[in-house]
Symmetry: C2
Subunit: 206 residues, 2 copies
C-alpha cells in the first residue's frame, strides 16, 4: 500500500519555495498548488519570467553597491550629490530605507557585510578598499556617516573603519548614526542597553 503524496516535481518546487524568507512548509505547499492552478496556467510562466528578468538585469552599482539595472545607480549618477556626505551601510538593501527617510541627500557605500570573525568575515571580505578610493577621489566626501547596525559586529566594524579612515584622512569628520529610544517606544519597553545608550547619547535641547 503506497503512501499517496504530491508528485515529485511539485515537492521539489515546494522545497525551493521554503528557502524564501518568511515561507514555512504549509505556505510553500499552498503557493506551489496555487502556481499550478488557475484556468489559463499562466502563473508559473509569469513568475519564472519575472525572476529571470530581474536576475539578468539587476546587479550592484559599480561605485556604491546599490541594486540597479543601469551601470551606475541613480544616486551615484546624480551629480548634485557628488560633494556631500558619504553614508556607509552594511548591505545594499540598507540604502533604500535610509533614502526613504528623505533627510539624507548624499551618496552611499555598501560594504557588503560587516566584520564578523566568527563567520570568517574580515576586512578583506568587505568593500573597504573601494571606500578608501572614494575618500581619496575629487570631489572628496564632506563627511563619513557610519550607518551600521547597533549590534556587536556593527560596533566593531564602525570602530575599525573610524580608525583606518582617521589614520589616512585626519581632517575628515567621521560620524555614527544615533542609538537610543526607537520612535513611539516608551521607557518601559526599552531594554537596559538601549536606555544606557540613550542616556549617554543625550543631546542639549534648552
Amino acid at each position: 500500500m503506497t503512501r499517496i503524496d504530491h508528485p515529485e516535481p511539485l515537492k521539489r518546487l515546494a522545497v525551493q519555495l521554503r528557502r524564501l524568507p518568511g515561507i514555512g512548509p504549509r505556505g510553500a505547499e499552498r503557493i506551489a498548488l496555487w502556481l499550478l492552478g488557475g484556468k489559463d496556467r499562466t502563473r508559473p510562466g509569469d513568475l519564472a519570467a519575472a525572476v529571470k528578468e530581474a536576475a539578468d538585469s539587476v546587479h550592484s552599482c559599480v561605485q556604491c553597491g546599490f541594486l540597479t539595472d543601469t551601470p551606475m545607480c541613480a544616486i551615484c549618477a546624480d551629480e548634485s550629490r557628488a560633494a556631500g556626505p558619504l553614508c556607509v551601510v552594511e548591505q545594499a538593501t540598507d540604502i533604500l530605507p535610509l533614502e526613504r527617510t528623505g533627510v539624507f541627500r548624499g551618496r552611499y557605500h555598501a560594504l557588503g557585510g560587516r566584520l564578523s570573525p566568527l563567520d570568517h568575515v574580515g576586512p578583506d571580505d568587505l568593500r573597504i578598499p573601494a571606500l578608501l578610493v572614494r575618500c581619496r577621489s575629487t570631489p572628496a566626501p564632506s563627511e563619513i556617516i557610519l550607518a551600521l547596525g547597533a549590534d556587536v559586529e556593527g560596533e566593531a566594524t564602525a570602530r575599525y573603519l573610524a580608525e583606518i579612515l582617521h589614520g589616512e584622512f585626519p581632517p575628515l569628520p567621521i560620524t555614527r548614526i544615533a542609538q537610543g529610544l526607537p520612535a513611539g517606544g516608551g521607557l518601559e519597553s526599552a531594554d537596559e542597553l538601549t536606555l544606557a545608550r540613550a542616556l549617554s547619547g543625550r543631546v542639549v535641547i534648552g
Copy 2:
C-alpha cells in the same frame, strides 16, 4: 530631484511575488531582494527551474483530476481501490488532506469547483459528466461520498449531485461527510449554525 526606488525589473518581480497566496507587499520585497542576493547568485535560477519543471510535468489525472506527473495518478492506478467507495471533492487539492487522514481507501473525483450562480459556475463547468461515466463503469463504485464544503455553494452542489445521481442510479448509496463540532473545539467557540448542525446530526452512542 528624482525619487530613488528599486530598479524596475526588481519591482516587477515583487509584483509577481505579491500575487502568491499569503505574501504581502513587504514580504514580496524581502523575497525579491533575497532572490537577487547570495554570493553565488544561484537562487533565481533554482527557483525558476523548479517552477518550470513543476509546470511542465504536473497535470491533472485524466480520471479523477488529482495532481500527478504520470498519465494516471497513483490512486487511480491502484487496482485494489477499484470497487470501493468514490469520494467527490470540489478541488484536486482537497484529495491529499482526505488521504492523509488514513481512514478512506477508495478513489476520488474532483469536480474542479462547485455550483455558484453568482460566479457563473453551472453544472456544465464542473466534471459532472465524467462522474456519471465513472458511476456507469465496471466495477461500479459501492457508494458516493460527497466531501464538499459546509457553505452555501457546497450544500447546493451536494443537493444537485444527490438528485441527479439518485435519478440515474437509484440503488447507489449517496452520503455526505458529517458536519458538527471541529476536533478540539468547545461549545463556547462554535457558532449557532455549527451547533444546530451538530445537534441535528447527533449519533447514538449507547
